[in-house]
Amino acid sequence: MVEIDMNRVDGIIDRYEGERGVLIQMLLDLQSEFNWIPKEAIARISERMRIPKSQIYRIASFYKAMSLNPVGRHLIQVCLGTACQVRGAPKIMDRVKESLGIEEGETTPDMRFTLRRVNCLGCCAMGPVVVVDGNYHGRVTPSGVKDILQRYK
């Protein structure tokens, strides 16, 4: 089980205490702090902000940027925006899936990679684009996928 540092959770809640309409912003901060949203954190928000847990889960499960499961050490985002699509992004996605043996949204059993599909990152000039941990790789070819993955241990 992953240990959650509740002081960090409280610190995020403190930023917004007393303001209106901040639940989404708070969850986004949690997401970037932990890379996912642990259920202990949801319980704490519910308790301190007096928001029903069901409402928090509804939001956390609706938005793509929020994850209710722990993610791997490296997050791979394969862009399937239209511009990347017409430049062959589906083949890139296939290669990544095949190389890692996982589907979109899944994490490898060794917790090394989590794979996500994104719909346009706005760098269409460089398509097809793959982003790993915030590093952009442009004009990716199917045969180049292996090299990119090898850089992240």
């Binding site: 986004l28 239209t82 699509q85 430049r87 290669r95 719909n119 706005g122 269409c124 199917p142």
Partner: protein, 632 residues
């Protein structure tokens, strides 16, 4: 205000050499950060840190050729600059007056090298009114914006105009919303202003969910003050004291630059209490999105700002009357707001002199896909698609044939070759079965399968539909099933008609614009490319050789030079052969990843894609040996 501008300009010596470097997201991805570090280090090293200014600007738009470095006052533009080029640039073009030929733009037709950015064909045929300031300013320095006349429009409004006069000016400019629908911005302002209820809210929509469109991101990253200035003017006209900027989660740099801009604007007295001594109070808060396409719809976006799930509300209640916390709320897109300072400065008559009868001003398009010069393009409304794609875009990549251009994002449609001379404006695009949307323009060449594109959009929307209303939720799923069948070779007679029927129901019965327009990509592709659908269904053939289940890879024995490249790269071990033995693909092992097709040397091109007919049987063993050839 003028005095402030003068004071800033007085501090700046126009003859002091200045290096600017494009630092939008696309350039950062191609190495702008490394180039910036190299420039700083090199200036230091050559003892020029005090005598030469260096500025990191927002996106110049020519993302295909980034990172872009410009040197002033000579106005020399270097493209595709790498850190290794930096010492030479500084020694030759800053210390000396030499131009480095190899870093200039070369006209692919004439071979002529072009020194000035404005003379490059990509820029020459544009009218960059809204976007043009990006290359001139560092978005994190408000003084750059003031130096080029920024915040003068706000000062004019607060000092000389009543809110009613501002409203009239924007109304008579006939500015239509740049985010999708094209609704007149002035009328939206007016209904929010007249709606009962206080407080009133104004909102910038920077959700920009349409895949393939990124002009709002580039404006927000590159020139956030222009958007804020427009928003503040709008707030004054509407009578609002609280604004929101909704930025999608995928745009971290936009959030960063906007936050800096907000702080600086407060510091200079352009936001906060008693703005510029006028007694008018207004402030702005940023709301980050969390990754949901539907949240870009105005009522859904307002739900999200309230901290609720970003799902749309029924549209019979207008958000201009009951928006955020049930108060009158005016929402406009980034580009719309960025037009406002221009309209105030130069007047509605000037604005009306640009564009077509019912679409005034310019529009920024993101020209992407299979085109030579990918990037952001700003042209007057009414410019033809042909001019945009060929004159500015430099035509289709790799000498391929144009097939269609997709506009309007997932709610839009495709436009085929016979309509390339259509003038681009709100009404003309709608007439052609597509729409303006936020200005995405995705060019497709002959290698794009039109059925696959329709399937792609339906799949995208299926994912993004919030599921609240049945026609959208179920209609999209059924359309996706049918299209998946067609591209997998399981299509049957009547599928096209069924798609059309589902589309009609969705159009008339969905709750919000996502659902009512969701069928557009399907309808417009059927309208212009019905034969391609029929080829998939009747002949099980993909004419563009894209659909995985309908194609096979085949090595042509007369072309194969047995170089082992494909064999070594094949991830499934499906290729048999050895040195001087023609390679053969084992069709039962092939996973159709296309790597053999990609790695086969361009001079050889032995790997072919076959669709709609059987793969020829492999050569008998004895004929596979390549005899050593005499040197040619």
């Amino acid at each position: 205000m003028l005095a402030l501008q003068k004071a800033i300009l007085a501090k700046r010596d126009p003859n002091k050499p200045l290096i600017t470097l494009c630092s939008g997201t696309a350039c950062c991805a191609t190495g702008s950060d490394a180039v910036a570090a190299a420039i700083k280090a090199e200036l230091e090293k050559q003892g020029l840190a005090d005598t030469v200014s260096f500025r990191r600007t927002g996106c110049h738009g020519f993302c295909e050729r980034g990172p872009i470095v410009t040197i002033y006052p000579q106005d020399i533009c270097y493209l595709n600059v790498s850190p290794e080029d930096v010492p030479e640039i500084i020694s030759k073009s800053i210390k000396g007056h030499e131009v480095i030929e190899r870093l200039l733009y070369t006209d692919p037709n004439t071979g002529e090298r072009i020194v000035h950015e404005s003379e490059i064909p990509f820029y020459k045929h544009q009218t960059r009114l809204v976007f043009g300031a990006n290359p001139l300013i560092d978005p994190t320095n408000i003084e750059d914006y003031i130096a080029i006349g920024g915040y003068q429009a706000l000062a004019k409004v607060l000092e000389e105009m009543t809110p009613e006069e501002v409203l009239e000016e924007v109304k008579s400019a006939n500015l239509r919303g740049r985010g999708g629908g094209g609704f007149p911005a002035g009328r939206k302002w007016e209904s929010t202003r007249n709606a009962p209820g206080e407080p009133k809210y104004v909102i910038v929509n920077c959700d920009e969910g349409d895949p393939g469109a990124y002009m709002d991101r580039s404006l927000m990253e590159g020139n956030p003050h222009r958007v804020l200035e427009g928003l503040t003017i709008g707030a004054y006209a509407i009578g609002s004291h609280q604004g929101f900027v909704y930025v999608r989660q995928e745009y971290p740099l936009a959030v960063k630059n906007l936050s800096i801009a907000l702080d600086q604007a407060r510091e200079y007295g352009f936001l906060g209490d008693d703005i510029l001594g006028s007694g008018f109070n207004f402030d702005v808060r940023i709301h980050r999105g969390a990754g949901a396409f539907v949240s870009g719809e105005s009522s859904a976006l307002m739900n999200a700002i309230e901290g609720k799930v970003g799902e749309p509300r029924p549209k019979y209640i207008h958000t201009s009357e009951s928006g955020i916390w049930e108060k009158p709320s005016d929402l406009n897109n980034v580009e719309t707001w960025a037009n406002i300072p221009l309209i105030i400065e130069r007047g509605a008559d000037w604005f009306n002199s640009i564009g077509t009868e019912h679409s005034k001003g310019t529009k920024i398009f993101s020209l992407v896909g299979a085109v030579n010069n990918t990037g952001l393009v700003e042209v007057p409304m009414g410019t033809t698609l042909r001019d945009i794609i060929y004159k500015i875009g430099g035509g289709i990549r790799g000498g391929k044939k144009f097939k269609a251009v997709q506009t309007g994002g997932p709610s839009g449609g495709v436009i085929p070759e016979q309509h390339l001379d259509a003038p681009v404006d709100f009404d003309e695009l709608t007439r052609l079965g597509s729409m303006m949307g936020s200005g995405g323009m995705i060019v497709m060449d002959e290698d794009t399968c039109i059925v696959d594109i329709a399937r792609y959009f339906v799949d995208f929307l299926c994912d993004e539909s919030c599921g609240k209303c049945v026609p959208c939720r179920e209609g999209l799923k059924r359309m996706r099933d049918i299209l998946n069948d067609i591209v997998a070779g399981r299509g049957k007679e009547g599928d096209i008609e069924l798609l059309e029927e589902i589309a009609r129901v969705m159009k008339s019965a969905s709750l919000c614009a996502l659902g009512t327009t969701a069928a557009n990509p399907v309808l417009s592709t059927i309208r212009y490319f019905r034969a391609e659908y029929e080829a998939h269904i009747e002949e099980k053939r993909c004419p563009a050789l894209v659909c995985k289940d309908l194609i096979s890879y085949y090595i042509q024995p007369d072309k194969c030079i047995a170089c082992m490249l494909c064999l070594k790269n094949c991830p499934s071990g499906a290729i048999q052969g050895e040195k001087r033995k023609i390679h053969v693909i084992d069709q039962t092992k092939c996973i159709k990843c296309g790597i053999c097709f990609e790695v086969c040397p361009p001079k050889v091109r032995a790997v072919a894609k076959i669709s709609g007919k059987p793969v020829p049987p492999p050569l008998p063993e004895s004929e596979r040996i390549i005899e050593r050839r005499a040197k040619r």
